[in-house]
Amino acid sequence: MSMEEDEDAPNTTPGYNSHEGRQIAPTMAPRPIQPRISNAMSDMNSGNSRNTPIRGAGHMAFDKYTVDITRQVATWSRGIPSGHLKTVPDFDLFESVSAIEIGDPKMDSGAPQNQNDLDTTYDTSTRLSNSEIIWILDMHLGCLMNWNRGFPLAQTLFTSVYVEKLLSPDPKHPTVPKTIDDIKSFFSHQEPTGGDADIKNLQHPLSFQTLTINLFVVMVIKCCGLAIDSIIESQVPIYEEEDISLHTLGRDLLPAIKLGHIEMFFRDFLSQAERWDITTQSVDSPKRSPLAGIVLRMQFLHKLLVAMERDISPSERISSLTSAQSKLADIKKLGSEISPVDGVFDPQLQRRLASTSPLRPLVLNSPSDALSHASDFIEGLRTADWTLRWGEWENPSLTFRRSCQQFAFNESKKLPLVRAYSFHSIWRSPNESFEFLMVQDILSTVRCWPARDLYHRAYGNFPQVMSYPHPDEPSSYRAVLDFCQRAVEMGGGYIDVLRAFCSNSCRLRRTLCRCVKAFEELEQCEAVEADNILSADNRYHDETASRPMTTWSRTLKLEIMQTIIEMGFHLDMYALSEMVYIYSYLAMVYNARIDLIRFQKQKLNENLSSFSIDGFGVKLDSQLRINTEELNVIEAMLRLHRVLHWLDIVPGLKFSENQNIKRWDLRMKPFWPVREPAPPTWQEVSGYCELDWPRIEKGHEVESDHPVLLFLGEIHRELETASIQYQAQLRHFHKSQYIEIEAEEKLLLAKHTTTMHIISQLETLITCLKTGEKFNLLWETQPTKSYDWYNVFHTPDIVKA
């Protein structure tokens, strides 16, 4: 057959795709074919092989013949010398190494184990009971939460048959739903087959089951889509590219379906639910609980979806999150019956994704885990959202730092969306916003009249930025503003302290170490300069006498130092044998902080004037109390560790003096630039922690007047007094929706718990020493899930042998 005859074939061969009436354009005419191919085609058409007309892929826009060259390839490849390759130019062996080997189950995600595993066995039009519907909803929610926790979409949501049907419809409904009509038409194809007229005949085109499951799945998909949009917008460095750039998976998450469309379906759903007289008020009725469970789940996800919408106002978001949380609590309280359904989630569906990664196992949780993860997720979003709105707090800067501090160690911060939210505010805000925040911060720590004036001028404006003072105004304004600018802009300055809390724990500690150095410089240079200008001004001598800028810089520096040392506990950096030295330095830092507050108080009292009665003294007293309480617990830990050292029962490797010095130098390295309180040398700290009491023999009773027992008794008494105080304070707290109050209560509770734990350990120790019983020290580092003050300290357990 000649070339010309062959080219005519498409028009005459059955199966040629002429439905578009497209002819081969002159420019698309085939190039003169190589003689070998012509021969191959001749062979094929003469009966050696079949020449099959194939309809081309729509997106490729070609309609053409193919030529079977199997036999030719088999024949001529035999002529390639062994060890040689036939390649196109510029393609070599090294490039070929990166190719995925088809058929290798470890590389080829599409390789089926058997022919039937490509098709899912689950039929989405199966009739389901309410408890089964609840299971499906919970598992989809679990998929959403697992994805939010960092698992890939391919292992979570895209393993659902319902999601697969929606995002990659079967050839009968070949388009992915793009409009509300598409969705409706798609839903109607999922109608259950068979009876149950009482559920179906609700004068609605879609049955309760179809509407519920599909609407829930659409909302889950939209939640993912909105989260991805927020993450992309925030430019947060999250590296799960495959999930963020969905084209690599060959899917999109219904970008054309808007919240308004979903609202329409949701109203339909609620009206159907009402016809069944299902209201959330009827949650106590056990007969209705499965249906009530479904309604609550739908309402919960709807609220979550509304909260994740980017265009809503912050107050709407907070209220949606709060109501989502309350719905979640109702769901948990209701405890609906759940029956699992086989085949809804199928790992084989990954084979249909355009991913080049091999098949990975399903990541599914139990429904109860799904609900608890959802709770964590909402809590994370609430905290992130709260953190962003610093302008609305009573004491913004302090709360901001506290929230950041809580948040930095919070498990929920790892959630990409939560990170995106927090990053968005902290990384995208202009420097001027941070200057405003810094002035607020200064005012929460010290009294400084130019800062107060500048703050009041900017307050209420939008954006809240510091305005430059008029040249005729006192130079103090300018001095404060310059100081703020310098502190915000400098490397490791104020802005970096806040940004540090958005990074992971290791980077956080590293950045804070840099900040300590920067703040030491700030305290020694810029702060002194600003204070000199302020004290030259005769107004408000009572405020300038306490050297406000130096005091503020030092306060923040000490706070950062405390955080760095405490993070060492959190990150399990310290060995048990060095705890005693670390506690002693931490106590030094706390003492420096307390001294500073006392200095402020003293200056306030010395220069008390009618202008200074603004509750600042009360604030100082409260700060003093909080710091003293924290110091009490730290000193108790220190003294307990000193006794354990003296008893020589601390497990771990014995270090030589040189090793100890090296280790201590390493621990103090971040604090080397600090002049006040300067890091102690090994000799100083080791001498301080030693006790020269008469030795006791193991297994013998210790006399009641032995210094060790007196020492322990003293600690015990002090701690008991402290714990009573904490208890009294805790009684004054009442449940509050404000995160800052929650955080304060948590902190107090942590102090109380730590104190009680140390008391119980002390009691065991005292009893063992008195009776001569043997005892052991148990010390297990356990990964701490969340940061609170209690968790940063590892209190050893003393147990009777």
Partner: protein
């Protein structure tokens, strides 16, 4: 189903002479760089640019897409029915990129006559 490796083994068993080198070069120069459809014995079709091959007929395709033959059709094929025309539609494909299809997996190689390069 006979794979291309089986065909090679048959040729070897039948003591078919090896093709002359210049013909081998000529053949591969005419198909390298063009779009191939490789059918594998697990009822998949890979469409991509032919980049490289060797004596065992391991074939490397670049920018490849994977298409699946519907299971019913694959079953017909397994029981010996003639393979119906494979309809490749965009919705059933997925992008797989640079792939190496071993000769023992290949049951059919097709050359797209138009628009290959």
């Amino acid at each position: 189903m006979k794979t291309i490796a089986d065909v090679q083994a048959e040729l070897h068993a039948a003591n078919e002479p090896l093709p002359p080198v210049h013909e081998v070069d000529s053949f591969f120069n005419s198909v390298l760089g063009r779009t191939l459809r490789i059918h594998t014995h697990d009822a998949r079709v890979f469409v991509g640019q032919f980049k490289c091959t060797d004596a065992q007929c391991n074939m490397i395709l670049a920018l490849a897409h994977e298409f699946r033959v519907p299971v019913a059709e694959a079953a017909e094929e397994r029981i010996g029915m003639t393979r119906p025309a494979v309809k490749l539609t965009a919705n059933e494909s997925r992008y797989v990129g640079l792939i190496c299809v071993p000769g023992k997996e290949i049951v059919k190689v097709e050359l797209e006559r138009l628009g290959g390069m």
